[in-house]
C-alpha cells in the first residue's frame, strides 16, 4: 500500500464524513464549519492528483472567499436552526432532493458509462506538468491573454459597482 493511497483514503474519508455531518447539523453555522473541512480535504485530494493550482484555488476561493459569503448570509438571515428556515416548506425540500438526484445521476453516468478519462493523455509526466502554477501562468499570458484582460475589466466594473451601491452619498 503506497503512501499516496493512504493519503487518498485519509482525505476522502474526511471529505465524505464531513459532508454527511454538514447536511445533518441543525445549526447552520456548524454546517458551514464542516463545509470548510470538506473543502480542505478535497484540496488535499487535488494535491494528490498533482493539481497544485486547483488545490490552492480551492482553499483561497472556496474555503476563503465563498465561505465568508456563506457566513455573511447566515448572519444576515439570523436563523437559530434549520427549522426556522425550512419549516413548512416541503416544496423546497422536494426540489432540493430532485436537483440532488439529477446531479448524482449525471455524475454516475459520467463515471460509469461515458468514461471521461479515455480521451485524456496517459502520459503521467505531461499531466503532472499541466497542473503546475507555472504551466497555468504560461497559458494565461499567451493563449488566454484576452480573457484574462477582459476579466480585469469585469473586476473593475464590479468594484465600481460595489462602491456606487454601498458608499455613494445621496443628498
Amino acid at each position: 500500500m503506497s503512501f499516496e493511497f493512504i493519503l487518498f483514503i485519509f482525505f476522502s474519508l474526511i471529505a465524505a464524513v464531513s459532508a454527511v455531518i454538514m447536511i445533518t447539523r441543525p445549526n447552520p453555522v456548524m454546517s458551514a464549519i464542516f463545509l470548510i473541512i470538506n473543502f480542505f480535504s478535497i484540496a488535499g485530494l487535488y494535491l494528490i492528483l498533482h493539481a497544485q493550482f486547483i488545490s490552492i484555488v480551492q482553499i483561497i476561493v472556496y474555503a476563503g472567499a465563498i465561505m465568508v459569503l456563506f457566513l455573511f448570509v447566515l448572519m444576515l438571515l439570523n436563523a437559530k436552526s434549520e427549522k426556522d428556515i425550512l419549516s413548512g416548506k416541503n416544496k423546497i425540500k422536494i426540489f432540493a432532493v430532485v436537483i440532488a438526484g439529477l446531479v448524482f445521476a449525471q455524475i454516475a453516468y459520467l463515471i460509469f458509462f461515458s468514461s471521461p478519462g479515455k480521451a485524456l493523455s496517459p502520459d503521467v509526466a505531461a499531466s503532472i506538468k499541466a497542473g503546475t502554477v507555472e504551466q497555468i501562468g504560461k497559458e494565461l499570458y499567451t493563449n488566454y491573454l484576452l480573457p484574462f484582460e477582459a476579466a480585469g475589466f469585469l473586476l473593475l466594473a464590479s468594484t465600481i459597482g460595489a462602491l456606487v451601491l454601498a458608499k455613494k452619498h445621496f443628498d
Partner: protein
C-alpha cells in the same frame, strides 16, 4: 499591429473606461464631463466598427472575431448606448442618481456586449456576459434610496446569477465532451458531438441560460419588475443592448446548424417563440404602466426573434440581425420619450398621463407615435421589415404555423401600441400641466427615429450587407 487595428472599437471602449475612471477620480464635476466623453468614445467606436466592417477574421488564438456581422452588432451596441447616454444627461438629475459612475458602468456594459458579440470562445462569451450583467445589476439599483429600484436590482441579480449558473454548467458539460472551448472547433465537430447526450444536455443548459437573458417566455418573470423599477434609460439599454448581445451568441450557435439544416434546437425555440409571442402580447394589453407594457412587449419581441432561431437558416440569421437593429432604435426611442415625460419619484408613467399629450407637447407626441407605429410592426417603419424577414424565413423552413402565430400575435399587439396613440391624439387632456422636454433627449429620440425611418425605407441595403457577410 493589424490585429490591434481590427479590434479598434473594443480597444476604444476599453481605454475609454480606464480614462473615465481617471476623470472620475481627478475631477469634481465628473458628472458634467463624463456623458460627453463617453458619448464621444461610443461614437468613435461606432464609426470604426463601420470602417472596419470588411476586415473579417479571428484573432488572439481564435478568441475574438472581427468584422462582418460582429461589427454590425458593435455598431448597434455603441450607437444605442450613445443615444441612451444623450437621453440620460437630463434624466438622471430628475432620477436622483446624478453622478459620473453611471456613465462608466454603461461603458463597461457596452464592452461586455461587444465581447459577447465578438467571442469565438466560450470563455469570452461568459466573461462578456458577466461584465454586461454585473453592470446592469448595479445600474438597475443605482439609486439606493428608491425602494422599487432596490427590488429590481435584487430580483435581477438573483435570477441573473441563476441564469449564469445554467450557462456555466452548460459550458462545463460542453467542454467536458468537446474537450475544447473554441466555438469554431465545436462547430466543426458538431455533427458527431450531437450524438453525445452530455453534449446536448450542456447545449440545452446553455440555451436555457441565454433564454433568461433574451427574456423569453418561461424565463421572463424578472422582466416586468426589473424594467419598471430601474431608471427608464437603463431599462431602454437592458431591453435592447442586453437582448441583442444574448441573441448574438445564440446566432453563433445557430450558424453551426444552418448549413447542414440539422437544427436540433428547432422544437425548443419553436415552443419558446410561440409562448413568448402570445403571452407577451396578451398580458401587455392589461398594463397601465407604460414601462411595464414595454416590458411585456419586449417579451413578445423576443418571441418574434426566436422564430428566426427556430427556422435556423441563413435568411433567418439575417432577419434576426435586421430585427435587432430595428428593435434597438425603436425601443430606445420609446424609452427615451417615456423618460422625458416621467416626473419625479416614478410619477407620470401611467397611460392616463399620456391623455392629450399632443396638446401639451406635440413634439414628444409625434415621436412617441412614430415609435409605437414602428413597434407594432406597421409599414413603412423598420419594425415591419424585421418581422417580415423573420416570418419569411420561418415559411422557408416549413414552419408556416409559427409564422401564422406570429402574425396573429402581431395583430393582438397592435391594440396596445395604438391605444397610446389614440390617447395622445384623440382625447382631451384633463389637466393643462405643460410637459417639458430635454433638448438632448429630443436629439436622441430624433436620431433613433431617423434610423427607424431609414431602415424602414431602405431595408434591402442593410439586409444585403448582413447577408453578404453570412456566406
Amino acid at each position: 499591429m493589424q490585429d490591434f487595428y481590427n479590434i479598434l472599437p473594443l480597444i476604444l471602449v476599453a481605454s475609454g473606461i480606464v480614462i473615465s475612471v481617471v476623470i472620475e477620480i481627478l475631477s469634481d464635476n465628473s458628472e458634467k464631463i463624463l456623458p460627453w466623453f463617453s458619448a464621444l468614445v461610443l461614437l468613435s467606436a461606432s464609426v470604426y466598427s463601420i470602417m472596419l466592417m470588411n476586415n473579417t477574421g479571428t484573432i488572439f488564438n481564435g478568441m475574438l472575431a472581427t468584422g462582418g456581422n460582429v461589427y454590425i452588432f458593435h455598431f448597434i451596441f455603441t450607437i444605442g448606448a450613445m443615444l441612451i447616454i444623450l437621453g440620460s444627461i437630463d434624466y438622471i438629475k430628475k432620477y436622483g442618481s446624478y453622478f459620473g459612475e453611471y456613465y462608466i458602468l454603461i461603458l463597461n456594459a457596452v464592452l461586455g456586449m461587444m465581447i459577447m458579440a465578438s467571442a469565438r470562445d466560450l470563455f469570452m462569451v461568459f466573461i462578456g456576459l458577466e461584465l454586461m450583467s454585473i453592470c446592469f445589476y448595479v445600474l438597475a439599483g443605482i439609486n439606493r434610496k428608491k425602494l422599487n429600484a432596490n427590488e429590481a436590482s435584487l430580483k435581477y441579480v438573483l435570477l441573473g446569477a441563476f441564469a449564469s449558473g445554467f450557462v456555466v454548467y452548460g459550458i462545463a458539460l460542453i467542454y467536458g465532451t468537446a474537450q475544447t472551448t473554441s466555438i469554431d472547433k465545436i462547430i466543426a465537430g458538431f455533427v458527431p458531438l450531437s450524438h453525445n447526450i452530455l453534449f446536448i444536455t450542456g447545449l440545452f443548459l446553455f440555451l436555457v441560460g441565454f433564454s433568461f437573458k433574451i427574456a423569453a417566455f418561461p424565463f421572463h418573470q424578472w422582466v416586468p419588475d426589473v424594467y419598471q423599477g430601474s431608471a427608464t434609460t437603463i431599462s431602454g439599454l437592458m431591453s435592447t443592448g442586453g437582448k441583442a448581445a444574448a441573441f448574438s451568441v445564440l446566432i453563433i450557435l445557430l450558424s453551426a446548424v444552418a448549413p447542414s439544416n440539422a437544427n436540433v434546437f428547432r422544437p425548443y425555440f419553436a415552443v419558446i417563440a410561440t409562448l413568448s409571442m402570445i403571452y407577451g402580447s396578451i398580458v401587455a394589453i392589461s398594463q397601465n404602466n407604460l414601462k411595464r407594457m414595454l416590458a411585456y412587449s419586449s417579451i413578445a419581441h423576443a418571441g418574434y426573434m426566436s422564430i428566426g432561431l427556430a427556422s435556423g437558416n441563413y435568411e433567418s440569421i439575417a432577419g434576426i440581425i435586421f430585427y435587432l437593429a430595428a428593435y434597438t432604435f425603436m425601443n430606445i426611442g420609446a424609452f427615451i420619450v417615456i423618460s422625458m415625460i416621467e416626473g419625479e419619484n416614478d410619477s407620470k408613467l401611467q397611460l392616463s398621463d399620456y391623455v392629450g399629450l399632443n396638446a401639451k407637447n406635440p413634439k414628444l407626441a409625434a415621436l412617441m407615435a412614430l415609435f409605437m407605429f414602428a413597434l407594432s410592426g406597421l409599414p413603412p417603419f423598420a419594425g415591419f421589415f424585421g418581422k417580415y424577414y423573420v416570418f419569411i424565413s420561418a415559411i422557408e423552413a416549413n414552419l408556416t404555423w409559427l409564422a401564422i402565430v406570429g402574425v396573429i400575435s402581431s395583430v393582438i399587439s397592435v391594440y396596445f401600441y395604438l391605444r397610446v396613440i389614440v390617447l395622445m391624439y384623440f382625447k382631451e387632456p384633463e389637466t393643462s400641466v405643460a410637459v417639458h422636454n430635454s433638448n438632448y433627449g429630443v436629439l436622441a429620440a430624433v436620431i433613433s427615429a431617423l434610423f427607424v425611418i431609414v431602415f424602414g425605407l431602405f431595408p434591402g441595403t442593410l439586409l444585403d450587407l448582413i447577408t453578404s457577410f453570412l456566406k
